[in-house]
Point group: C2
Chain length 89, copies 2
């Protein structure tokens, strides 16, 4: 799948976190508290953005999405790796 | 400065967060809850890793560092941008 590799980091009011977490789990891999990572298609990306806007309050919540070309993904973990991703290249 | 552009995301026990936050602020820009971003030199990177290991407990804490080539940094923010970074190219 030629997709987009993304990292999603959120800082969301407690009352909305669960819904966002459950939604993102359908697309991405949970990495750490408020952090998801994974590869999705462009179409899925668009749908994800629309849904995230529905699930959050733009005046109170913050979501940052980093798009990283997979071949440049360079990651180092100190301490516990809460959810190690096995890369299948 | 030809440095490394990094993203640091941490999930640390409450008793150690303040020290890590104060330390990272000396190198990087606070973006959002438990997230720092910025460009540092290779030497600074090595020093940072050593210091972060000193400040945290590898059996309880988790720090993920993403190294992203600056020209591939592609970021989208939904909602509040807690600490917008002005890129000086």
């Amino acid at each position: 799948m030629v997709g987009i590799y993304i990292l999603v980091i959120y800082d969301i009011k407690i009352e909305r976190i669960n819904k966002v977490y459950k939604f993102l789990k359908t697309y991405l891999i949970w990495i750490q508290n408020s952090v998801f990572e994974g590869e999705i298609t462009k179409a899925q990306y668009k749908t994800m953005i629309i849904k995230l806007k529905e699930l959050t309050d733009e005046d109170e919540d913050s979501i940052i999405i980093y798009k990283i070309p997979k071949k440049y993904l360079n990651k180092e973990v100190l301490g516990i790796e809460k959810n190690p991703i096995e890369f299948i290249l």
